[in-house]
């Protein structure tokens, strides 16, 4: 089933760089969709359109539509706050908020109006477990989150997103600063997450793309070059450019 439908999306930043050119694609529910390609291809820009985080950057022109459950979220009338609760995001650099581990998880729930302690405790445990970090931090939930290692911080950030029970989770190179073991843990968590959520991942390497993708989209200089099932695309790409990139001939 298609969760997200992107129609003819184009976007130009105010410094003149054209970031997306007429991108159209459909994103499946309960699957990991991978957006990959060389830097500057528009992958992050596309992610940031999906939760309207680009609103806060200076944009010259954009056109096209993004439908989530049939609603165009680029409509100016969209409730952006509600949208961002529905579409969670994890960034390349872990950004624990300047609070304790527990508060990092409960902060967004608190903002959303959930005050009951039992509910909050439940959410903390559930989301930390899903993000595969519960066992490492359950003894010290009141410690500052910044004291954790990078890999742990990133999983707390993932848990923070899960706690809001979004429908879609966006991940922008979530493992770029992590060691292989932490990376493995995050990837394992993703496989668990896709059972309940729609996951869209910008991987930090082609290998990671191949490991995790149910569907994969190859972006080059703002254009969607090829989009299809992960298995087919990585073993038997249709486009010459995709093949070259996967084989490591450029990029």
């Amino acid at each position: 089933m298609n969760k997200i439908i992107i129609e003819n999306l184009s976007l130009q930043y105010s410094d003149g760089t054209e970031s997306l050119r007429d991108v159209s694609m459909e994103i499946r529910q309960n699957a990991v969709t991978v957006l990959f390609g060389p830097a500057g291809g528009g992958k992050s820009t596309l992610l940031r359109c999906l939760n309207r985080l680009n609103d806060l950057t200076e944009i010259k022109a954009s056109s096209g539509r993004i439908l989530i459950d049939g609603e165009n979220i680029l409509d100016p009338k969209t409730d952006v706050i509600a949208l961002r609760r529905k579409v969670g995001m994890v960034f390349a650099r872990p950004v624990p908020l300047p609070m304790s581990i527990r508060e990092n998880i409960t902060y967004a729930l608190d903002l959303a109006g959930e005050k009951r302690k039992s509910k909050l405790d439940e959410a903390v445990e559930r989301s930390l477990k899903l993000a595969a970090i519960w066992d490492e931090v359950k003894e010290r939930l009141n410690d500052p989150a910044i004291a954790l290692s990078g890999g742990q911080q990133q999983r707390v950030c993932l848990a923070r997103v899960i706690a809001l029970q979004p429908q879609i989770i966006l991940l922008d190179e979530p493992t770029s600063g992590l060691d292989p073991i932490s990376t493995g843990k995050v990837e394992a968590a993703l496989l668990e997450l896709k059972k309940e959520y729609t996951v869209i991942l910008v991987p930090h390497s082609v290998q990671q793309a191949a490991r995790t993708a149910d569907c994969a989209a190859f972006f080059l200089t703002g254009e969607l070059i090829e989009y299809g099932e992960g298995k087919t695309l990585f073993t038997n790409p249709k486009q010459k450019k995709t093949e070259d990139y996967i084989m490591g001939r450029f990029g």
Binding site: N51, L53, L56, I81, A82, R84, R85, G88, M89, F91, R93, V95, L97, P98, M99, Y107, A108, L111, A112, P144, I146, A147, C157, R160, V161, L164
Partner: protein, 298 residues
């Protein structure tokens, strides 16, 4: 070649070292001088008359309480104005204002900070004091409130400029992290950006208060200079005299080595100790906050 290079290193290191030590030396010398001129007070005037409420040095009344309370009232009033206003302005400039507005406001605030305090005192006497007298129906416009308002104005640019730098150095990723969780702009500022910058913001507040408590010229011009104990609520609307204004006004006409002369230095010591205490409290708060949470931040 090798040798001359190491000699150069040696000389440069020593030069830097000397300038570092000399800073300490000068502070120590100033402190020593203050002590030497101020401490004789304790033998010449007994404690009970020093802690009296009457300051009338010509007839040997050296009660410094009115001066201390005068300084505290004016400074407290200034802080109450400068802190919320300064932090609010800093937040506006760093978080809310569009870029072109920021580029106008920031230099403007810094220009304001460079305004000589005499000029502000002038404005105080000519504009603010008459206005307050009429508006609040007071016998005179030269009151503690007038001083507080002007001192607040003097401290605001300091607070704004330091706090804005602190806010500006909070990584953009923090804000995006909070936004992506569905926090509004205001919630992000209040719960994420300000806490992340809090040691810098606290430094800004302390520098602002320090600026206010040490300010002399403006308060001397606009507070009326009546050495009256300022502990009633109404004191805000009556003339007061601060420690700094007393020293500045009387030092010129006092006999060198007299009791009055020593008492003025004693007041200088008290002032020195007060600002020392403010600084120690500030740095210990910052230090504790750092130890508790943001060791990596700020």
């Amino acid at each position: 070649m090798e040798k001359s290079l190491s000699w150069r290193e040696f000389i440069i290191t020593r030069l830097i070292q000397t300038s570092g030590y000399s800073a300490i030396l000068f502070v120590a010398l100033i402190f020593f001088f203050l002590l030497r001129e101020g401490l004789p007070t304790l033998t010449e005037v007994d404690m009970s008359s020093l802690l009296n409420i009457r300051w009338y040095p010509i007839e040997d009344y050296f009660g410094i309480l009115p001066l201390i309370t005068g300084s505290l009232v004016v400074t407290l009033g200034a802080a109450l104005i400068a802190v919320p206003f300064g932090i609010g302005t800093a937040v506006y400039i760093s978080e809310i204002a569009p870029r072109w507005m920021r580029e106008i406001l920031k230099p403007l605030v810094e220009l304001l900070g460079g305004l000589p305090s005499v000029v502000l005192g002038f404005l105080g006497i000519l504009v603010l004091a008459p206005f307050l007298r009429v508006f609040l129906n007071l016998p005179t416009g030269l009151t503690a409130l007038t001083g507080s308002l002007l001192l607040g104005g003097i401290a605001v640019p300091t607070v704004v400029s330091v706090a804005e730098d602190a806010l500006d150095s909070v990584p953009r990723a923090y804000r995006e992290g909070a936004w992506a969780l569905g926090a509004t702009k205001w919630q992000t500022i209040w719960r994420v950006t300000l806490p992340a910058a809090r040691s810098g913001v606290l430094t800004a507040v302390m520098l602002g208060i320090g600026r206010a408590i040490g300010e002399t010229m403006t308060v001397m011009m606009v507070t009326g200079n009546a050495p009256v104990l300022a502990i009633k609520l109404g004191s805000l609307f009556s003339p007061v005299r601060t420690m700094t204004a007393t020293i500045a006004a009387e030092m010129g006409e006092v006999a060198n080595g007299s009791t009055h002369y020593h008492v003025l230095f004693f007041i200088g010591m008290v002032l020195f100790i007060i600002s020392l205490v403010v600084n120690i409290i500030a740095s210990s708060v910052v230090f504790r906050a750092k130890k508790r949470a943001e060791r990596i931040l700020s």
